[in-house]
Structures are given as C-alpha cells and as structure tokens.
Subunit: 347 residues, 2 copies
Amino acid sequence: MQKEMAGRAKKKIRSLQDLADAAGVSRATASRALNDNPVISLKTRKRLQSLARKHGYSINQKARDFRLQRTSVISVVFMLDIRSEQHMSDPFFLDMLGGIADALAEHDYDLLLAHAPITDVLDLKESRVMQQSDGTIFIGQGEQHEQLKELAAGDNHMVVWGYPVADKNYVVIGGDNKGGCYKATKHLLELGRRKVAFFGNTNNPENAARYAGYLQALDEYGIAANPMIEVDVPFEMHRAREVIVTMLESGVELDAVVCISDVMALAAISTFQDVGLDVPNDIAVVGYDDISLAAYSSPPLTTVRQTIRHAGRVLVESVLGLIRGEHVPDTMLTSELIVRKSSGENG
Amino acid sequence: MQKEMAGRAKKKIRSLQDLADAAGVSRATASRALNDNPVISLKTRKRLQSLARKHGYSINQKARDFRLQRTSVISVVFMLDIRSEQHMSDPFFLDMLGGIADALAEHDYDLLLAHAPITDVLDLKESRVMQQSDGTIFIGQGEQHEQLKELAAGDNHMVVWGYPVADKNYVVIGGDNKGGCYKATKHLLELGRRKVAFFGNTNNPENAARYAGYLQALDEYGIAANPMIEVDVPFEMHRAREVIVTMLESGVELDAVVCISDVMALAAISTFQDVGLDVPNDIAVVGYDDISLAAYSSPPLTTVRQTIRHAGRVLVESVLGLIRGEHVPDTMLTSELIVRKSSGENG
DNA sequence: CTGAAAGCGCTTACAG
DNA sequence: CTGAAAGCGCTTACAG
C-alpha cells in the first residue's frame, strides 16, 4: 500500500491520461472536468481541477487547438511600403503592436509577427501567416489594395488598418486621416501661416486622405495648392533630409509644414535647424501620430494624436468578431490635434 | 473514365491522405516524398511534390509540429521593469524585436510575444509562454535574477539579454555595458567636463555595469563620484522631467550628463532647454543605444551604439543552439561611441 | 523502395 | 453523470 502510494506520487502527470489515472476516472471525464463542463458533477470537477493544480498540470493547448481545428494564433502583417521607406522602428508601429498584443493576450490568442517587407501580399496566401493562423491583421494598405482584395475574396478572416477605398471588400479600421490633417493645416492657417507645405507621399489610401484634408483646409482659406511645396518626402530619415535640403535650395518659400508622421516631422525639424532656420519662428511644423517622444522634441511637437493602443484593441476585437462569424463594421477613430510649441503660439 | 477524372480533379486536396489518394500512393509515401526523404525514389518525390504544388497543398505545419512534439515557436518576454518605468514604446525594443523576428523567420520559427509587465517571472512557468514554446528569449533581467535562475534550473531553453551576474546559470547575451559607459564618460572628461552626472537607476545588472563604467572613467581622472548628481531617473518621461527639475532646483552644479538610454537623454535635453540651459554649451549630454532618432534630435545625440538588430540575431541563434542540444556560450557585443553634437565639439 | 499501423494529447457524439 | 471509441493531420519504426 505504501509502496503503491509512493509509486503514484512519484509519477509525473504530463497528460490528461496521467491525470485521469491518478484520479481513477476516464480521460473523457478528466477533459470535461478541466474544461468545467457542467455535465460533470461539481464534486468531480473540483476534485480533478485541484488535483491538476497540485501536480502543476495544465492542458496542452497545442493539442487542444489541434483537436479543435484551430490555432489560437492571429498573425500581424506590417505592410512596410518599400517605396515610402517607412521604417519598422517608427515608434508608431511598436505602440500599435503593443495594443494588439495586449488585447490578444486577454483573449488567449498568440501573436505571429510577420514584418519582413512584403513585396506581394499574395505570397502570404500559401504561407504560414494565413494558413496556420485563425485570422490576420494588416497594418497599412501600402499600394496593395488590389492584392488585399484578392486575399479578402478567399474566406480569410482579415482586418486592415488603413483608410476605406471605394471598392474594398475587407474590414477597415483607421483614423480620421482626412479630418486629422484638415485640423492640422487649419491650425497653421489660423496662426497666420500662408505657405504651408505637405511633406509625405500620397501613394496609399491613408496618406491620400491626409493630403485631401490638407487641400480642403487650404481651399477654405482660398489658397491654391502649390505643387512646389508638396514634397514626396521618403520616410527614411537620411533620404528625407536630402529631399528637404534640395527643396530649400530650390528657393521655394514656405513658413509651415504638415508632416505625414511624427518621425518625419522630427527629421524635418532637425534639417531646418541645421540650415539655420528656427522652428517655429521661421517655419512651423506639425506632425502626425503623437508618439510618446513627440512631447520631448525641441521644440515639442504639435501633432495629430492617433489613439494607437486603442486602435490595436479595436483591430483585435474586429478580427475575433469575424472568427466568431459576426458581421463586423468598419471603424473610424477620431483624431485630435495636440498643440505644442513646434507650430508657434500656445504649447 | 471522364467522369472519374472530373471527380478527381474537383476534389480539393486538404490533407496528406487526399494527396496520397490522388497520386495512388500511401500516406506514408506522400509524407516522405514531401519531406524529400531520399529513401523514396527521386521520381516519386518529384511527382508528389509537383502534384502538391499544382493543387496548392502544403503540409499542415501545426499537425506536423504536434506529431513531432515541438511547437516551432519561440517566445519573447520583455522584462519591463515596473519600478524603472521603461516604456515598451522605446524604439530600442522594436529594433530588438525586429532583429529577433527576422532571424526567427529565416529558421521557420514563429514568435510569441509576451510583453505585459511581468511582476514575477516565475508565473511564466505554468503559462503558454514557456510550456507551449520550444524556447524563450528574455529581454532584460530586471530585478529578477533569482527568478530567472530558478526558471533556468528547469530544463527550459532560455537565453537572456542582459549582463552576466556572478552566480548565473543561464546564457547571457549583451552589450559591453561597462565599456560603453566608460567610453561615454571618458569622452566627456576629455572634452573638459568635470561635473558629470549619471542619469538612470542601477537596479538591474546592465545598468549597474554602465554605472561601474562611469565610475571607472571618473576614477581615472581622479574625480570622486558625487552622489548628488547620480540620479535615479525613471524611464518614464513625465516623471524623468520632474526628477531632473527637482535636482536642478536643488542647486547642484553639473556640466554633463551620461544617460542610461537615448530616450532618457532626449527627455533630459528637452527638460534642460525648457529651463533655459543650452545643450551642449551649458550641459553636454550622452545617450545609450543609438536608436534611429538619435541622429535627428536637436542637437543630434552623442550616444553609445548597441548593434541592436544584430543582437536580436545572436539571441535567436543562441536559443536555437540550446534547442539543438549544443553548448552555447555567453556573448558580449562590442559597444561603439557615436559622437554627435550633444556632447559638444565634433559631430 | 513502399505500406500498414501506431500514436502525438486532446475532445465529443454516442451509448449507457 | 461517466466511459469507450473515433479522429484531428501528420511521422516513423517495423516489416516486407
């Protein structure tokens, strides 16, 4: 008897079968008990659960997922646009990723990160990213709207951070890009600036919407857009600097800049200061995103706040909704202008 | 006959069995063929492989992993130290994560991100993080060296980004923190600064090593450490600002600062400028990490470069080495001083 | 060179 | 309320 108990105590419980043996029930009962299936008597459930706890056993989720034909994995694809050269180290991405990771963890999903530059999203169709995950979150549309449409035509559970495009067939979550840039531009105009440049490209829907907001504000003030100061500034900072310097040397005049991201705004400020221009006195600068560093630049950055972490949560709730078979609407999050010193006044 | 072919063509191939049926071989042969097992005739292998390609079938990795009793997942734990309040959005983390993600992808491993603040690492022992992954990468030791030791005492495959501690039993990859901060401090001393402060806490091994490097440089110049200007500055920027302001108001004199991270250095510069101090003329500032924004602050930041992305690769290679059962040595990556304008001179 | 059979750790419809 | 049995999609030792 002693011997038997000793033997039993020694045996490491590594599977449901082990646990069932130790408790003297079947594997089926053990499974139901640990899943708190009410068809099992409360007493048996409690007994099995505490036995499991005592032995440090918990259900093998991978086996469970396999049996249930699911993965409990959501993949996240950063659509780093090669042409725009936006860099992964933009803090915007990490904040977004953090929001997504937190929300997924709460729902017991794992996060599969696919961030290598994607030349053609369709390649993902046969990759683990889409095949071995229950859903996919795309961060940005890049210039691949058509490919995203084709992916969405499959039965994939996918949501996209971006801006709605006319004929889209996928769920879009995004900020109010047009309204955000409208507010930013209007703010500069209200402060008396009249030669307001736009720094950034417009080759994806989000950026195009921001540009539209910029134009709308100019229009309200009866200012014609000046192509000379709408610059396709690359996200990559070394190149951004070159482009900006070239533009300044061309002799165009400007007294304010609306930038497509905070990182670009920081690069612009640094470049202006290098050539002896004062921000905001000579040139006012407004960014976009409100990354945490924005408040600590010199001067502190006026910017359009995107509630990035919250956006991450919305993306997660949306993709999980799709997985549950629900109808999921698009979401547009509001954008708020945060006024600091880089635009002059206030701050 | 026609009918049969039509039927066959229509049937969607979703599993090895489907493929085997379509090819007229056994499931076992199909498995070996797709894995390019040379025991199968080359002809059969090629035939099966092209058939699979034609039907867009690829092996279900999750089922394969399950059968092979592995997960193909490496988990990454960011040891966000609650006391030091270093924020996840520090670009340092994203660069590191990017390096890790790239390297893992090359080896066909997935990345499970666990970044919620960990109060007690031992909680991970029973979580998916360690149970359902083949290995774990910890970013930072925080103040949990003892707990990491206990985890390592299990048979876990784990590597830690940090700094070697005397009685450690886990593999450590890290920068030359002591040497890096030594160089940074010496650089300031060589430029004639004599009242050099240290901004940061020393409550984890990495930071303690940096502090030691700072002291060593001071010592070589015969300067005694002044406790008044070794400030436990929190990583969180709002609080950092408060602490710095309080210190300045206390009337201590300083003409240079060595900061424990670039983000902290940027916060410090911003704070100094706010109170009317000029950087670098009144106070020289040196950071640590060389995040990509460091070159674009105002003034551009002198800092100690950590080859962050490369470090990510080394972490991955090391943990995969452990999984393969190899002996994996510690690695110390060199640290290089990048001189820009925030320290005065050059840049 | 190929196949039949066992089994990875679970869940659940079915039967009692 | 509980159990025996089938099966999720694979791989591999064993036998031929």
